[in-house]
Assembly symmetry: C2
Homo-oligomer: 393 residues x 2
């Protein structure tokens, strides 16, 4: 069986990159080596732990500075961020929203929180993310314009927006996608939950969409415990995002008036404090993650039947989670490889089950998803914590 | 004007209770005097800050122990807790849910997150909360039974649940309300966001509803920065609450499968750590708050035209926010009193604007709300932080 992957060789190659003598290597664990203690203790000492406080303001300013977005609004997690992005982009009940089938569940869930329907689209091998060319052709064939909006001819529903996800930190082809958005009058909302520190043609991800979402969950490049943010370059939208994520309360010395049904999505100050300290270290983290990616690339280069996934052309990726792809003849061996590596206490995992295969999204509209279906079988994530790159500095 | 309140006397009485020489007296600020830093530092030192970790488990166990509920599920805030309570009680799109008009916005918002419609009910003077007798009579007159459920004759919609709120920590008349729930086949969901440490006939609030919600926002008796919890005595419901607040992911070594549209509502471990430390001090906090309430009662006893609000009969209240009520002839003076006290940097505030007066809830069904409308004019909250009681120990 000439195509059969050498399991032992893979395990040894991965082990060669990782520190020896550890009981367990996590997929991605946080790294606290800066001002985390100082800032968090300051919150406790001053009593400012909750919904307002200087770290929330600072974190929002720092995020805007870092990403180049005009405005950042800190919220309780990435799912909440995406929910509000969709809402403020004008997605309403019974709209359809184009999302990749190959993504974490939050992308599809956020659409349903708006009462809208996820419409699943395929990904491309070069980015792992949404394929704009395939989407263009698909929309040409299956949609029509009515009163300026794009309608799904089959369902009769309006298609309002498209949510590309920069999977594992790798930017999708945003320029090409933006063409498609303009052509079909779709709002572009970037799910940049995984791509803090990733750039498309020199511009930080999350800058091209009308709104974009970030995540600072414990498994992300930087963490606030739980947290997320909305990015936008539009001042009016930014103000509205702050307003509706903080219960839509109108400012007043003491009266409690709210002008619409808002949300309790604000990030607590203590979590923002963590975020400020983490963001200060982000460039260092990214450097170490790049070193780790380089180590994996080298170690895996000689092994037949698998390919280390490289950042797309025109992009600089944060390499949030490192990826190897099994060549097609070896796709059936995914579980065996996962078994072998996890048995050695090296945490590895497949990509998320495709959205359209989950019971609650099984009936949603979708295009041909054959590339996603192949990728689902081919893809394995390798341990990617900052600390793992540290040992090679 | 014999009925006219003596503004100076009120200001002096309130000042006599409060510490002298402070720039500003907040309405309710948190108090960190226990193991907060130890536990939070432990999170940072071990790297367990995020969605799983020992403090989440401990906080849930400790909350169950403290409240006497069989199960507690920690979530990201009280609004999220109530949203899930309603969902798991079976509230669906186009149901109506009975909620007091006199409450914080989260109570009504959580109903709308389910696609349901808040139906506003009146409060009673003895508890500040929902009036079960008035509700009973109202439902008698305006509803009918169809296939075992209570229907609003006018709207034709099912009335599925009732959400009493233990306003400012004062328990509503739960026994009487439970009778009404049984009579009309309504699910009882207690919004106990304000009543941690409050007891009704010796039983902790949040134990009588099918599900109940707690809040640990920064202004509450104890805080986790932002946080909340769901209480229930039903094992199946408890498991489902944990499941759908953690994205409805099915357990597996590495595969990501979700069996329904869940939510990202889990409380981060670092916030739970704060909660564990705060809960250890709760009994002490309650003692100090009771001392403060006693001081206010004494200081205000001699002033004509206002009444210090006492915990209801059969209840032990946490006195979360102390309340004075202006006698009816003096209701028009509320703003003047608020001006006078806030001018002295003593933060006081009126009750929240009644829900049915807000633009988004103006068209919702409602009963006669005359008691709530009077209370809205009569009620003033006084500074109630734990530390203020401390100075009198």
């Amino acid at each position: 069986m000439s195509n059969r992957i050498d399991l032992d060789a893979i395990v040894k190659a991965v082990q060669s990159v990782l520190p020896q003598g550890k009981d367990f290597i996590a997929l991605h664990e946080p790294h606290f080596n800066g001002n985390e203690w100082t800032y968090v203790k300051d919150c406790l000492d001053t009593g400012w732990v909750s919904s307002v406080g200087k770290y929330v303001d600072k974190f929002e300013r720092d995020l805007a500075d870092y990403t180049g977005a005009n405005y950042a609004i800190a919220v309780v997690n990435g799912t909440a961020a995406l929910h509000i992005c969709l809402k403020l982009a004008g997605v309403v009940q019974q709209d359809e929203v184009l999302v990749p089938s190959l993504t974490f569940i939050a992308t599809a869930n956020a659409v349903t929180y708006c009462g809208a329907i996820p419409h699943f689209v395929d990904s491309e091998l070069s980015t792992l993310g949404l394929d704009p060319n395939k989407l263009d052709k698909y929309l040409e064939e299956t949609t029509e314009f009515k009163e300026g909006y794009c309608y799904n001819k089959k369902s009769g529903r309006r298609i309002k927006a498209v949510v590309p996800v920069h999977i594992f930190g790798h930017p999708v082809d945003l320029d090409r996608l933006l063409d498609v958005c303009i052509k079909f009058n779709l709002e572009l909302i970037e799910d940049a939950a995984e791509s803090l520190g990733s750039y498309y043609k020199g511009k930080h991800t999350g800058n091209m969409g009308k709104l974009s979402s970030l995540s600072f969950n414990g498994n992300k490049v930087i963490t606030t415990g739980g947290g997320g943010a909305i990015l936008t370059n539009d001042e009016t939208i930014a103000k509205m995002a702050k307003h509706i994520t903080t219960t839509a309360k109108l400012p007043h010395k003491w009266a409690f008036n709210h002008d619409q049904t808002g949300f309790n999505y604000r990030l607590p100050n203590i979590n923002a404090a963590l975020g400020c300290a983490q963001l200060e270290q982000l460039d260092g983290f990214l450097g170490k993650k790049r070193i780790l990616a380089n180590m994996y690339r080298e170690a895996l280069a000689e092994i037949d039947g698998i390919t280390f996934f490289e950042e797309p052309e025109n992009a600089t990726s944060n390499y949030w989670l490192n990826v190897v792809l099994l060549d097609e003849p070896n796709m059936a061996l995914r579980e065996e490889i996962l078994e072998a590596l996890n048995d050695k206490n090296i945490m590895t995992r497949p990509v998320w089950t495709l959205m359209h295969k989950l019971p609650m999204y099984n009936d949603c509209p979708r295009m041909d998803l054959s590339v996603s279906e192949d990728l689902e079988q081919q893809l394995i994530n390798l341990p990617s914590s900052v600390i793992l790159g540290d040992s090679h500095v």
